[in-house]
């Protein structure tokens, strides 16, 4: 599903050029659950952003489902993103002015899904994450765990092929964190490919494979013990 070859990414200011990613090669098969780990500043979030088409690469190739997307312009990236990729963030990033239902509905609005169909799909996914009873609440009225469940619901409502999760349990206690990891595991078992950035060894155990990074390079890839 994802094939990244010889990826280079630099950050340039007036005086300094920083190598964020240096000759990175990553291959993620469809249906895999991959965890990316490493110390702060190693480039794992940058890698995730590139995979999610939120950032571009300076050199190298990125094949997404065998389509070369490295040189895509923003509109094309946006189209590809909204139909294929769901995002889960550490700080949830729900829109405070929208209710739970409206937040989850948002991706369907931008893919022009008719209202009745939107309602059906949102309710289905809210049931799945067990937050249906808070559908008319605003994010500020929910706990951290509940907000992250909503964020997961939003990420999957469009049935994306790929979910990118950036430290999804970073702001949660262990109990809520486990719940979220359980949700992600269920999604993966249902066929969704997941790439997750994490600091937590505990969370990494939910994945099939761990990619370890240091100073912008992949230093190790290991299969997770069953």
């Amino acid at each position: 599903m994802i094939k990244i070859t010889n990826l280079q990414k630099f950050y340039r200011t007036e005086e300094v050029e920083t190598v964020a990613l240096n000759d990175v090669n990553i291959h993620v098969k469809e249906g895999e659950f991959v965890a990316v780990m490493g110390p702060s500043g190693c480039g794992k979030s940058t890698l995730l952003n590139i995979i999610g088409l939120l950032d571009d690469l300076d050199e190298g190739s990125y094949l997404f489902n065998n389509i070369e997307v490295a040189k895509f312009k923003e509109n094309k990236r946006s189209d590809l993103r909204k139909h294929n990729i769901g995002f889960v963030f550490q700080s949830f990033n729900l829109i405070d002015e929208l209710t739970v239902f409206e937040n989850v509905e948002l991706p369907l609005v931008y893919t022009n899904v008719p209202a009745a169909e939107r309602k059906r799909r949102v309710e289905e996914v809210l049931e799945k994450v067990q937050i249906m009873h808070r559908r008319n609440h605003f994010p500020q009225q929910l706990s951290g765990g509940q907000q992250q469940r909503v964020a997961v619901a939003r990420a999957v409502v469009n049935n994306p092929k790929l979910i990118l999760a950036d430290e999804p349990t970073g702001n949660l206690d262990s109990s809520n964190g486990n719940e979220v990891m359980q949700l992600l595991t269920e999604l993966n078992e249902a066929g969704t490919t997941i790439v997750m950035v994490t600091h937590s060894e505990h969370d990494a155990k939910f994945s099939d494979r761990v990619i370890r990074m240091l100073d912008g390079q992949v230093i190790l890839e290991t299969a997770t013990a069953l």
């Binding site: 509109n75 946006s78 829109i95 002015e97 509905e105 948002l106 991706p107 609005v109 931008y110």
Partner: protein
């Protein structure tokens, strides 16, 4: 999707109630001001629209050149209308019109002054008033018929039927009401309360010179046939009078001036149409757009300043699939919602403000939603506001990079910060320009009010000589002096500020026979000069009771210098129509008619001379009171004496000071409106500044807290926060000053008597703007500087 956007818009509005209020109220104020101005403009532009024949109606103007100066009047000879109707093809109606002035009407015990005209009957064909009673055929068919307007009829007869009833006219003659017509709207020419057949005026004023081709004393109004050739008619009218007089002189031309231009363009200089009310229409339209621009800039600034708060929302929308166009539409839509709410609030503000505005501009303006123009106008303004105000924020907000937000970074101020500063500068520049212009208009009015007019207008009470007063005038004067409160009483043909008669037929020894000089003339009694404290600079005044002065005249300094450069001309002779008049004295120039102009040449002749020339014994008493008198008491005394000899007429009076001040009515209105709009512009700008400064303080809360912990004083922090905005206001001043100077230099040029550009005003206005801005910003800066730093730093 639209439902989602609208929900989001209202919830964002509610979430930031304070800023939303500033935004909406500022925009509402701008829209309200624009709406009021455009109601006024609409009223002005629709002047005379009530007349269905408007495009075919003309007034005959006379262009005359004297001494190198060209004057344009609306006066024509009494024979003119009939003659052109007979001789010039294409003229459907041609009528004589003379203003009857304020005349006393008596019905039973009711006495009222009403104003009206003496007109030929075809006046009714030209203006087609709506007859509520009576008809056009009989309305002016008899000399003692009188047509009343609906309001006049109600005032005199209440709810009774007026037609058929009689009214006493000037306590003299009895007229029969032959018709009642609907009032012409306020924005129309020739509004009347009464009309009488011109033939009656002709019969009552045999000495008026109506049969003299050389005497321009009445107005001619004309309605052309629908397809008349205007150019051809003007060609035939051009030297019509000279041809009738068999004269080869070509210094007088006549032409038709269309009703469509009467209101907007009826100011002539040097013989050419220059401008008129259109100047004010353009000025206020510009002010309207300026104030609206300021309000829209406010909106833009506050929206973009608050944009950081929406960065997360914009980023997430982009991540889940929103394209830039969709976000632009969303934010434009929000802006339109704000503009719509502001529009509704503006309508409320307009309705609230209309009564006061109507008093200020002396009109009956109203906003009417069954009128498509009004509805359409408000809708377009709301649309423009929404789109203009929302355009920049929409593109600004939709260009947020989701990645920067995800990384927790803030947008650098960069170009957006510069644009915001530019907008603040634009706002304040516009407001400062308005304030400077307002101040200069005010100063120009004061400058003219304080002008030495050549006479003393203080403590002078005027009352008209009417009814029986003329027969007892000497006794009245004596008794007035006998009260002990009055110094002197003089009589003049008109109020001293008005000279209605002039002629170019005066000659004197040494005058260039080829030169033609227009000279004003008026008639007074011997005490007039003393009553107005005028100064005699050569010779003497009239002797008491004009003993030996029946052929004497006084002239003013300007005329004296034309006769002889040193002005010492007493004893010289003036010739007029074969009669010789002895110049017995020269008075210092005094200003009449155009209070902004220079003193034109003038002759003052004895009252008796006027009467001998057919000018009726009427006129004005100029009652000079002693210093320190109780005016209420004096007026009671005057009333008592006047009514003793003239009991049938109600007593009325005016102060010469007030008459003078009323000359500034147009400029005062301009100045009051400009002040009002300048204040509103500053308020709107300050609303914006308040919001921006609050936001800036919020943005810098962390910095302020850290500085405080490190030892910065409150005053230092306030200075730091204020500095950024005061610089912007300072730059606004620098831009505004030359623009305002340019505008006002041009405006002042329109007045012969005008003040020099008052430079101090620029600095005073600039200083005041800085102080107002400082006060606005400081409230927010002080709040930020005195907040507890631990609260901010704890949240970090």
């Amino acid at each position: 999707m639209i439902k989602n956007f609208i929900k989001s818009a209202f919830r964002n509005l509610w979430k930031t109630k304070g800023y939303s209020f500033l935004n909406i109220f500022g925009l509402a104020l701008g829209i309200a001001v624009t709406a009021l101005i455009f109601l006024w403009v609409e009223n002005e532009m629709s002047y005379n629209d009530t007349f269905t024949n408007k495009k075919d109606i003309y007034v005959v103007k006379s262009k005359q050149t004297y001494g190198g100066n060209t004057f344009v009047f609306e006066a024509t000879p009494g024979l003119f209308p009939e003659a052109i109707k007979n001789d010039v093809p294409g003229i459907l109606h041609s009528v004589r019109v003379n203003a009857g002035g304020n005349t006393l009407f008596t019905v039973s015990d009711k006495q009222l002054y009403q104003s009206g005209y003496y007109v030929d009957p075809e006046f009714l064909n030209i203006f087609s008033p709506e007859f509520l009673d009576g008809n056009i055929k009989t309305a002016l068919s008899q000399p003692y018929n009188i047509v009343l307007s609906e309001t006049a009829a109600k005032r005199l007869f209440d709810t009774e039927k007026a037609v058929g009833k009689t009214v006493k006219f000037n306590n003299n003659e009895v007229y029969t009401v032959s018709a009642v017509t609907k009032d012409f709207p306020k924005n129309s020419s020739y509004r009347y309360e009464w009309l009488i057949d011109f033939k009656k005026f002709e019969a009552d004023n045999p000495g008026y010179g109506l049969d003299n081709w050389g005497n321009n004393s009445i107005t001619t109004l004309v309605q052309l046939e629908p397809n008349a050739d205007l150019a051809k008619i003007n060609d035939q009218l051009k030297f019509f009078i000279a041809d009738k007089m068999n004269s080869k002189e070509r210094n007088t031309e006549n032409f038709l001036y269309p009703m469509e231009r009467w209101r907007m363009y009826n100011v002539f200089r040097d013989g050419f149409e220059q401008d008129g009310q259109i100047k004010n229409v353009r000025l206020f339209t510009s002010i309207a757009w300026l104030v609206l621009l300021i309000a829209c800039i406010n909106f833009m600034n506050l929206s973009t300043a608050r944009s950081e708060k929406r960065a997360k929302e914009v980023s997430m929308r982009k991540i889940v699939g929103a394209k830039k166009q969709s976000l632009v539409l969303q934010f434009l839509g929000e802006s339109l919602v704000f503009a719509f709410i502001a529009g509704l609030l503006a309508i409320g503000l307009v309705k609230l403000g209309l009564p006061t505005f109507n008093t200020l501009v002396n009109k009956d303006l109203s906003i009417d939603f069954s009128n498509w123009y009004h509805l359409g106008f408000i809708s377009i303004i709301i649309l423009i506001c929404g789109l203009v105000s929302g355009s920049y924020p929409a593109f600004f907000l939709s260009s947020f990079d989701p990645l920067t937000t995800l990384k927790g970074g803030k947008r650098k101020a960069g170009i957006s910060g510069l644009i915001r500063k530019g907008l603040v500068i634009t706002q304040f520049t516009a407001a400062i320009i308005l304030m400077i212009c307002t101040a200069i208009i005010y100063l120009q009015i004061q400058h003219t009010k304080n002008r030495d007019l050549g006479f003393d207008r203080s403590q002078v009470i005027n009352t008209n000589i009417q009814g029986n007063m003329a027969n007892h005038i000497d006794v009245i004067k004596q008794e007035l002096i006998g009260t002990g409160n009055i110094e002197v009483v003089g009589i003049s043909q008109n109020n001293v500020l008005n000279v209605h008669s002039n002629s170019s037929a005066f000659e004197w020894e040494g005058k260039d026979p080829n030169s033609s000089i227009l000279i004003g003339f008026t008639f007074t009694d011997p005490d007039f000069v003393d009553a107005l404290s005028m100064k005699i600079i050569d010779g003497r005044g009239f002797r008491p009771k004009f003993l030996g002065d029946s052929s004497s005249v006084l002239i003013n300094e300007s005329l004296a210098k034309m006769i002889q450069p040193d002005g010492q001309v007493s004893g010289k002779i003036l010739n007029f129509s074969g009669q010789a008049y002895n110049i017995v004295g020269v008075i210092k120039d005094y200003i009449y008619n155009n209070i902004y102009g220079n003193a034109d040449p003038l002759i003052i002749a004895p009252l008796a001379m006027g009467e001998a020339n057919g000018i009726k014994a009427s006129g004005v008493l100029n009652i000079k009171t002693k210093a320190g008198v109780d005016f209420q008491e004096v007026i009671k005394q005057i009333e008592g004496i006047v009514k003793k000899y003239n009991p049938e007429f109600p007593f009325s009076y005016s102060f010469l000071d007030d008459s003078f001040n009323n000359r500034f009515a147009s400029e005062m209105m301009l100045q009051k409106l400009a002040s009002l709009f300048a204040i509103l512009a500053i308020i709107i700008s300050c609303l914006g500044l308040l919001g921006l400064s609050a936001f800036a303080a919020e943005q810098r809360a962390r910095e302020v807290s850290i500085r405080k912990v490190l030892g910065a004083s409150v005053s230092r922090l306030v200075r730091m926060l204020n500095y950024e905005f005061l610089i912007l206001v300072g730059i606004s001043c620098l831009i505004a000053f030359p623009i305002a100077w340019w505008f006002m230099k041009d405006w002042l040029k329109g007045y012969t008597y005008h003040l020099d550009m008052p430079w101090m005003i620029f600095f005073i206005v600039g200083g005041l703007s800085l102080i107002v801005a400082l006060f606005t910003i400081s409230t927010q800066a002080l709040r930020a500087a005195t907040s507890n730093p631990t609260k901010t730093l704890r949240n970090e």
